[in-house]
């Protein structure tokens, strides 16, 4: 059970949040131009990193805002949190 520092509401219990998977997978602007393979890459393929992962969370039971998190998936340590649209912090 993490404590998550929502960039808008401050520190809250994990139970107020939901995870949304890997971050920075941008929806292709022109899906019709993509091959089936490329589309599958967007749709299903994930890095699923053991270590530093960039991922999305949403404060479901609070401000309903999505944001990004940098977390070490090997020990669940949260390294950084930043708003949507902001540049990810450099490692």
């Amino acid at each position: 059970m993490f404590v998550i520092n929502c960039p808008y509401c401050g520190e809250r219990e994990q139970s107020e949040f939901k995870a949304g998977g890997e971050a920075h997978i941008v929806r292709p602007k022109q899906p019709t131009e993509l091959s089936d393979d490329q589309w599958a890459e967007y749709l299903f393929m994930r890095k699923n990193i053991k270590g530093i992962q960039f991922e999305r969370w949403v404060h479901t039971h609070g401000c309903r805002k999505w944001f990004n998190m940098v977390r070490d998936t090997s020990n669940d340590e949260i390294k950084a949190i930043y708003k949507m649209g902001e540049k990810p912090p450099v490692k």
Partner: protein, 1001 residues
Amino acid sequence: MTNNLRVKSSKFIDETYKISFRFNNKTYYGYKGDTLASALLANGIHLVGRSFKYHRPRGIMTAGSEEPNAIVQLHKNTSRTEPNVRATEIEIYEGLEASSQNCWPSVNFDIGGINNFLSPVLPAGFYYKTFMWPASFWMKYEYFIRKSAGLGKSPTEPDPDMYEHKYIHCDVLVIGAGISGVIAAKTSAKNGFKTLLLDEKPYLGGSTIYQNSEYFKINNQISSSWLEKEINEIKKIDNLEIKTRTSVAAFHGYNFLLARESLTDHLPLHQRYEKIRHRLLKIRAKKVICATGSLERPLIFDNNDRPGILLSSAIEKYSNLFGVSCGQKNVLFTNNDSAYETAISLFQRGIGIEAIIDNREEVDSKLIKEIEKNNIKIYKGYTIVDTFGYRKINKISIMQLSKDGQKVVGSKISINCDCLGMSGGWTPAVHLFTQSGGKLKFRDDDQVFIPDKYPSNQISIGSCNGEFTLDEILTGISKKLKDFLNIKKTDYENLEIQSHFNKTKRNIWLLPSDKIIGKTKPFVDYQNDATAKDIKLALREGFRSIEHVKRYTTTGMGTDQGKLGNMHALGIISETAGSRMGELGTTTFRPPYTPLTFGTIVGRNVGEYFDVFRKTPIHDWHFENKAKFENVGQWKRAWFYPKENEGMHEAVQRESKAARDSAGILDASTLGKIDIQGTDASEFLNRVYTNAWSKLAIGKCRYGLMLNEDGMVYDDGVTTRLDENHYIMTTTTGGAATVLSKLEDYLQTEWPELDVYLTSVTDHYATISVCGPNSKKIISKVIPDIDLSDEKFPHMSFKKTKIDKVKCRVMRISFTGEQSYEINVQANYGKSVWEKCMQAGKEFNITPYGTETMHLLRAEKGFIIVGQDTDGTMTPIDLQMDWIVSKKKYDFIGKRSLYRSDTIREDRKQLIGLVTENPKEVLEEGAQIVADVSKSPVEMLGHVTSSYYSPNLKKSIALGVVKGGKNMMGQKLIIPMENKQINVTVTDPVFLDKENKRLNA
């Protein structure tokens, strides 16, 4: 029996308060303050239970939560029964009823004891090697294995007690109220930190509080007196909350801990009514101080498990704290100085000590001198090689140890005794620390694991950090607390400490015997009957890792989770395998530290609070009118409204017919409603629905289908354009929350440039749908001001209006194929509007209908229900809804997936209608559809998704999905049931009014 072993009064025992209790159907007495174990010992009872595998007699071994043997069933055959309760933890109360477990007919004579004689053929893991023949017999073997396994008995009635949760956020949590914990809590609280101090026992002060020796002093006071004053002080501090009888079960990441506060278990039964039994504390602490203490180690030698063999520290506790003597002829067996503390305590109380066996050869300390001075025989450099006495120990044999400690030499000496105390040194209680993710390091000097790296803001202090003696504990504590709490000073800077404890220890994990190991039973895990020879067998068979050995031998898998024996198992493995202890690692300590009842974990979320119960604004009306309800997500929806003697079928037939013949009314308030505003609202809808929205006129409604990015149908509903930049979207009941969060996700992450705002208004509106040929007449009575003519208010359009003075929205939309109006009114007026419609419709026999009829009516029209006719594998094309997929739009969610090689296949499963050869025969929903039953295995083409008897068409109708169904119109197929085959014909899914005449009838 009288309390003949109550040797001395103790201030922890209230001898004016006598309590009677029953054990194995006999009545005994104890005093307030006793545990079941201390009370039994005071009555001379050691034998409490039988072991798991060999059914050996077992007694009380410890005085705490690490007890492996003395576990009992409480209140047999009642709703309050509880298996596997540790006699050492439960405080006695008037009416307590306990009985021995895992024995038959009684604990004194147990048939299962025969296993002890069979033990030569029952080594570790024997069951993996046998019971394989004949192959079909395993279930029979297993029946008997299961019967003999298990310990106590599960309750068979619901629990009469209540439980509760409590969330606590504190600055500093101190776990354990021994001397270190008390000092830490006082320091923390006095420095302004909101502090919580927890201890599993009913009293504060840990083991120091009953320490009564002149040899251990603080500031020239006996340590217990000094501590008592400290305790009195901390009770007065405002921002310090102290909870006793509270055991910390789990230490998770980010300093999240779970603790069980036991509130009524010590009260007489009649005082427990309407009270919370346990409270589960969910603690989030900024800082955690572990002062969890340490556990004394047993020693591993042949037959070290007999009743009457206890930990030496337990004997001391029973005598000092409870005033109970565990025996009259005590022998202590030790490898360190702790047993001498016990000896002195016993001696001071006049309890007989026969001898002390010390495996150290040359030792000397003030404590030992004191013992020798009193002419108690000390056998230095000796070990116990065997013990005797079936139901209770009566004799031991000892032999001299060789110099290297690997062998025994010389001849055997026998010593009579009625109680044996073992002291193998101390193991820091690092369980919680490791649960939190902490890493341990091994200290070779005294062979202990101590905390090394802290994974969160926490420290360990006192003996759980490997500081075992008073001076070790107290000299460093001040600096530690100052650093950890970031404070300048403490009250404990210059304590004067006297401690006469010699720290030398001779650690031998498995003591040598004069017999070959195969003939001995040196128990490592008492409860599971795992011995040192089992561990060695596992190693011989190639099991190398500690986890393998543990699993193969079941060491550490009992209800005590190996609190006593795990270290010895590790030691024996490393000695046998020739590896170093520290390198071998430890087994993982898993939560909970002490077992936690399910009821405690669940708290009040049982019965009606198991899950949220959502009600529509008209719920009370449905209830009053005897509706049957259906669970839809967290909602209770009216399912059908049976009149006298009607079953579901009759009710639904009547409701369905009424709706088409005259008028029906449905509570559709559960549908999700999302208010969409912003200059890009139309563009947004274009992207989330498959069809186009920009050209929808203000005041018009349109049906939309929403896909997942994988192209599969996800949700559907009607959306209405209220204004240029304002829409109201409806979603399915079950999909409301997920649709909104999915849409928010796209808005915030993919399309932040869009000016769109989404707000849920599901609960703001009551939605009342009136349908049927007379619906127009009814609505005109309810809302006389509105022009309902087809020209002014055609199908798929919307009007703002007022009923009395209350503004509301009316949509002319239909999920039944009938002319139909949907009134959306502010929820608190919903019931009133419903009643008004009922009143106005009375002359037209307006009939309330539930979800079942709604499903039937829409099936007649071939309308799908997402989730029933679709299952996450259906595209709009599969549903024969090509018309709703815009060819012009460049993109929408899921569009690209519709053009993958599999999704463009012509022979995918497609939605079709089915009619049965026999019009009365109603298909089973979920039944499979085939073309040919002659081949095996039969090729399944699809399944029946919806099926009803239509009272309006007077025949059975069904929807289904069938491979290539689109091109199978008119074809005959078969529904193969278990006992018959039903012939069906594929039809168009629209059974009624294909021309949509009824919408404007």
